[in-house]
């Protein structure tokens, strides 16, 4: 209880601090490049009332949803398949780590060439960002299941599917969820990045377009919305994540 009150207080202090910082930056930099928090929120309200905003938003959400499903399904499959086989896990883990660390943004021209400008390109861009963390966390979670739990299962003569269902999966859930949380954030960033380079719809496109037209109001509002959405969902996922980890 005390913990929750404390984290609420911290969040409020932090948000207030960020708003003050924003206002200060605005005071220093001025109208040319920035809008104040208040102006941004007012413009955001106007923006949200327009139809074309909703077209872009639904487009982004669609792409993001498909990319997320792909990331999760493929990530889990790859993670489990490799994690259950010791040699594969040992050999592939460092390769996944290397893939995780490469600047995937450099791949965008290839994605464009392969998928063309549009929905599938940004879905692909979102998915390549999300699959690897999900796979990596799953692999490590499955691989590092406490040996004593596995032995218990063997003594109980569980079949391989039963082993996965009743021991490996439940034991790995907290770590897998962390992977899903990271995968969620990265898929979103990937999708938006994909829209910035490889699309003609979506919030990322809106942002890139506003950069081209130098429309500060739109830049500020779209950035603001993206940050609020990403931070909000991540906050919820983080809370679930903490609860799952506490259980162990």
């Amino acid at each position: 209880m005390g913990d929750r009150a404390k984290s609420l207080r911290n969040t409020i202090v932090l948000i207030a601090g960020l708003l003050v910082f924003w206002q200060l930056m605005y005071a220093v930099i001025g109208e040319v490049a920035m809008r104040s928090p208040w102006q941004t929120m007012r413009y955001t309200v106007t923006l949200v009332e327009t139809d074309f905003f909703w077209v872009h938003l639904t487009n982004t959400l669609q792409a993001f949803a498909v990319a997320l499903v792909l990331s999760v399904v493929l990530g889990l499959l790859i993670g489990f398949a490799l994690g259950l086989h010791r040699l594969s896990a040992e050999a592939m883990e460092p390769m996944l780590v290397a893939l995780y660390s490469i600047p995937k943004i450099t791949l965008y021209p290839i994605i464009l060439l392969a998928f063309g400008l549009g929905m599938s390109a940004k879905i692909a861009f979102g998915a390549i960002h999300g699959i690897i963390p999900v796979a990596l966390f799953t692999l490590n979670a499955v691989r590092s299941t406490k040996p004593i739990l596995v032995k218990t299962g063997r003594v109980l003569k569980l079949s391989p599917p039963a082993m996965v269902r009743s021991i490996l999966f439940p034991a790995a859930v907290p770590e897998i969820f962390t992977g899903l949380r990271v995968g969620f954030s990265l898929t979103l960033i990937g999708t938006v990045l994909g829209e910035m380079f490889a699309a003609q719809h979506g919030l990322g496109y809106l942002l890139m377009n506003a950069i081209g037209l130098y429309n500060v109001d739109v830049i500020m509002s779209v950035t603001f919305l993206l940050v609020v959405f990403a931070a909000g969902v991540n906050g919820i996922l983080l809370a679930v994540d903490r609860r799952l980890h506490f259980r162990v």
Partner: protein, 268 residues
């Protein structure tokens, strides 16, 4: 032999309440006077404040009330010179080899390089770690790591040696042999030894005097003199008075444990 090397007067320790918890009265009040060159042991139930007592004497944590003196000077939140500690937990530095770990104990001693090398070599040999000098702690067993920590403490030639369950990780045979080793060291370096243990036979075999502590908040409820000769080793377990001492310790502790268990049973 009669002057007090370490003296505690009305020492208590309370830990302030942390988030979601309440303040803990861990220890005291305790009065103690440990003689110069004495082998002093403390036994008591788990969680009664033994480690806390050791940290108070070492100056690692300030007392809430009371006074602690070492060699006639008050310890006030500063580590006094001439104290060596072997902690209950594994305190080897994992990034240093055995030799470097032991050298660490001489960082501040201001000893000449060849004297330093000689002392490090001797300490390592004394703990039977000679062939492991270039190894890293991860390559050693738990008991060997504990011996590295003992060697690291001994190179600095402390005048007061504080040992917190140093044999906790060892099996019974090795414990007895290590006990002999500590006795030999104690005679050799002439330091005052303050040994914490939960093994009653260990206390009865090694110490000149044994303080028995109550459950938390720990106070001294019995003080047993063993009257062993200075030249002694683990063979004294055959003697009748060894059995008598052990059973006296157990009787006191048993009553104490029964009391606390009865109390908690009544509470639930």
């Amino acid at each position: 032999m009669t002057s007090a090397h370490v003296a505690l007067k009305g020492v208590t320790k309370r830990f302030p309440a942390s988030a979601g918890g309440q303040a803990v009265h861990a220890l005291g009040p305790i009065d103690l006077s440990i003689r110069q060159g004495e082998f002093f042991a403390v036994v008591g139930p788990s969680g009664c404040g033994k480690s806390t007592l050791l940290e108070l004497i070492a100056g690692l944590t300030p007392a809430s009330e009371g006074q602690i003196e070492f060699e006639g000077r008050a310890i006030e939140n500063e580590i006094p010179d001439g104290i060596g500690v072997v902690f209950q937990e594994d305190a080897c530095f994992p990034w240093l080899s055995v030799r470097e770990n032991v050298e660490f104990g001489l960082r501040k001693a201001g000893v000449a390089p060849d004297e330093k090398a000689r002392r490090v070599r001797d300490a390592i040999a004394m703990m039977g770690l000679g062939e492991f000098a270039p190894s890293y702690p991860a390559q050693l067993s738990g008991g060997m790591r504990q011996r590295v920590c003992i060697a690291r403490t001994l190179v600095a030639k402390p005048r007061l040696l504080l040992l917190d369950e140093p044999f906790g990780a060892l099996d019974q045979q090795t414990r007895l042999l290590m006990g002999d080793e500590v006795l030999r060291l104690w005679r050799e370096i002439g330091a005052t030894v303050f040994l914490i243990t939960h093994a009653l036979d260990e206390a009865a075999m090694l110490a000149d005097r044994i303080a028995v502590m109550s459950a938390r908040p720990g106070t001294v409820i019995d003080m047993v003199e063993t009257h062993w000769p200075r030249e002694r080793d683990s063979r004294i377990v055959e003697q009748e008075s060894f059995g008598a001492t052990t059973s006296r310790l157990w009787k006191t502790l048993r009553e104490e444990s029964m009391k606390t268990m009865g109390r908690s049973a009544a509470a639930t």
